[in-house]
């Protein structure tokens, strides 16, 4: 008869980890097929319907982005790196392009800056709609989830018109953007869409954010305090919900954000409800920013740097050096550190994703003591991007 200790030791020798069985708990594999986890998995140790211990089990979407990026020409990497965050693919594109711009010493034309800012804000709005869909589904308010999916479709149509693709836009490139705005008709459509969504936000408020059931479900679960959040490198709305007014758009302004007016929401509780309310307010602010951008109007001029090296992209070379650029995504602080050795491929691309901070250590802590029914809600209130955790 093999004892438990022997089995554990044998597993460890073979590079695996076996968890000892306990009398009162059972092990539950949560994901990756579970709809709430989105290709991300958790191993939960349960006592009845309470979580005793949660172990993150990521890696189902590992594609080795950072290593792959070292083997591809500079522009080609954009078609790869945007897959790090599917709901808002413009963010990895933008950070990579901004870092390469810095290495090249390029001042991006004003029109390109306007387009980049607009695209980033549109990505934020559509990502928040995606999140609203997820949260509503996990709360059981399927109606609101279907609405969010339908309204996101309007932004996808706008992206399709502007960039030529619906989900993977591959639009922002070093030196500017790939295409010009299709015309005034597109701007009018964008304004109409913003007005429309603003109008529909009231319905979301009625059904989700002012719903008594939502408060009963979200209040007091997944609580993190300020100190813990700062220690674990939590950023974005999750950090703002614990009382830290940190927003990259204000702390380290980029593109046109210094000229734009918006408010940063801060709440102190740090529970799932605070995170949801912070996100809801930011969604409103993003629509307001888009309105300001449309009032400003796109400046005239080129939409791309006029440089001879952009004519032959496979031979595009970047001078040796390193650069870091980061933007505020809906998930948090998204950054890219790019090192060049002067060749036609990057020497190293390091992505600082927000979800890796939220998705492994933080979620393991927050889930302790939670009910099984709250696990998807806590996961969704953190708004993780599984490809970013696995990378």
């Amino acid at each position: 008869m093999v004892t438990q200790e022997e089995l554990i030791r044998e597993a460890r020798e073979n590079g695996m980890e076996l968890l000892p069985l306990e009398k009162d708990t059972y092990e539950l594999f949560f994901g990756p097929q579970h709809m709430a986890t989105e290709n991300y998995s958790l191993i939960l140790k349960m006592d009845g319907h309470r979580v005793v211990k949660a172990i993150a089990n990521p890696g189902f979407l590992h594609r080795g982005f950072e290593k792959l990026a070292e083997y591809r020409p500079w522009h080609t990497n954009i078609a790869l790196l945007l897959r790090i965050c599917v709901p808002e693919p413009d963010v990895p594109e933008a950070i990579y392009s901004m870092a390469v711009d810095e290495l090249m010493g390029w001042e991006v034309p004003e029109r390109a800056q306007w387009i980049r800012t607009t695209v980033l804000e549109m990505a934020r709005v559509s990502a928040y709609l995606f999140w609203m869909m997820g949260l509503s589904f996990k709360l059981g308010v399927y109606t609101a989830g279907q609405w969010a999916a339908a309204y996101r479709e309007r932004f996808m149509a706008l992206f399709e018109e502007l960039t030529g693709a619906r989900v993977y836009h591959i639009y922002t490139i070093p030196g500017g953007v790939r295409r010009d705005i299709p015309g005034d008709k597109w701007l009018r459509q964008l304004r109409d869409t913003v007005e429309y969504i603003k109008d529909k936000l009231k319905d979301f408020d009625n059904l989700v954010f002012e719903n008594y059931i939502t408060y009963r479900r979200l209040e007091g679960i997944g609580v993190m305090d300020k100190k813990f959040a700062l220690n674990e490198g939590v950023t974005g709305p999750n950090l703002r919900a614990t009382g830290v007014p940190y927003d990259v758009r204000r702390a380290d302004p980029y593109l046109l954000y210094p000229e734009l007016d918006f408010e940063v929401p801060v709440l102190k509780e740090g529970d799932a409800l605070a995170r949801a309310l912070v996100r809801r307010f930011e969604f409103e602010q993003d629509l307001y920013i888009l309105e300001q951008l449309l009032d400003m109007g796109p400046p005239s001029g080129p939409y791309k740097v006029d440089h001879p090296s952009l004519k032959a992209l496979p031979r595009f070379r970047v001078p040796a050096g390193d650069a870091f650029a980061h933007v505020e995504a809906t998930k948090g602080d998204f950054g890219a550190y790019v090192v060049s050795d002067g060749g036609n491929k990057p020497y190293r691309v390091q992505i600082r994703g927000p979800s890796i901070a939220h998705g492994i250590r933080v979620i393991e802590q927050l889930l302790v003591g939670a009910r099984l029914a709250d696990v998807p809600v806590i996961l969704m209130s953190l708004d993780n991007c599984p490809p970013d955790i696995d990378r």
């Binding site: 993977y168 009625n206 002012e210 007014p245 929401p265 496979p314």
Partner: protein, 209 residues
Amino acid sequence: MKMESVKIAPEEKVRKKPSFLKPWMSLKYLFKKPVTIKIPYEETQIAEKYRGFHTLNWKTCIGCNMCGQICPARAIEMTWIEGEKRPHPKIDYGRCTFCQFCVDVCPTNALGHVEHYILTTEWKDEELELFDWVPLPEEMVRKFSDYRHPLAKIEKYEDGRVKYVLRDGSEFEFKILGYGLKPPAAAKPKPAAKSAEKKEEPNPGEKKE
């Protein structure tokens, strides 16, 4: 970090009040039409410059392999065709990510794209082969307005001849001599050309430095 410049939203604006009655207001949507589009009974409008299948102007293609070098998925293979001085790209839609960087880099604008995008098949082998083709000129692809692939059938013969049968019945025939960057000896069949291509593939970017 310049904390002073951050405009913090007043807390009462961020907070909402829970309500019993407000969720019921959503019932008004019971009396409205659904937003769903019933595909395939209803048609969707695709954007004008949607990144779909490629087109190739065979007269202006100079076979520079820029498209093959920039392709992130390595979906492009240069193909030597009888009667053409320079090789033409062959695109494998099993790998293509539709990023259309190849269209951007084309120095003579020979490679282009149309908004046709439908990749669905009935999962038959001969249908899957359609999606690995040397793109045809734009006017031949644009004839079909239902966003599907223009080819109905690819007939391959042993001597390297290939016949593209379009969906309207018209035919397009040419002979493939070999693949790769170096011109194949016309007498030698494919295997010799393939080994030449294998040597070059690991570092296509460094060739022209």
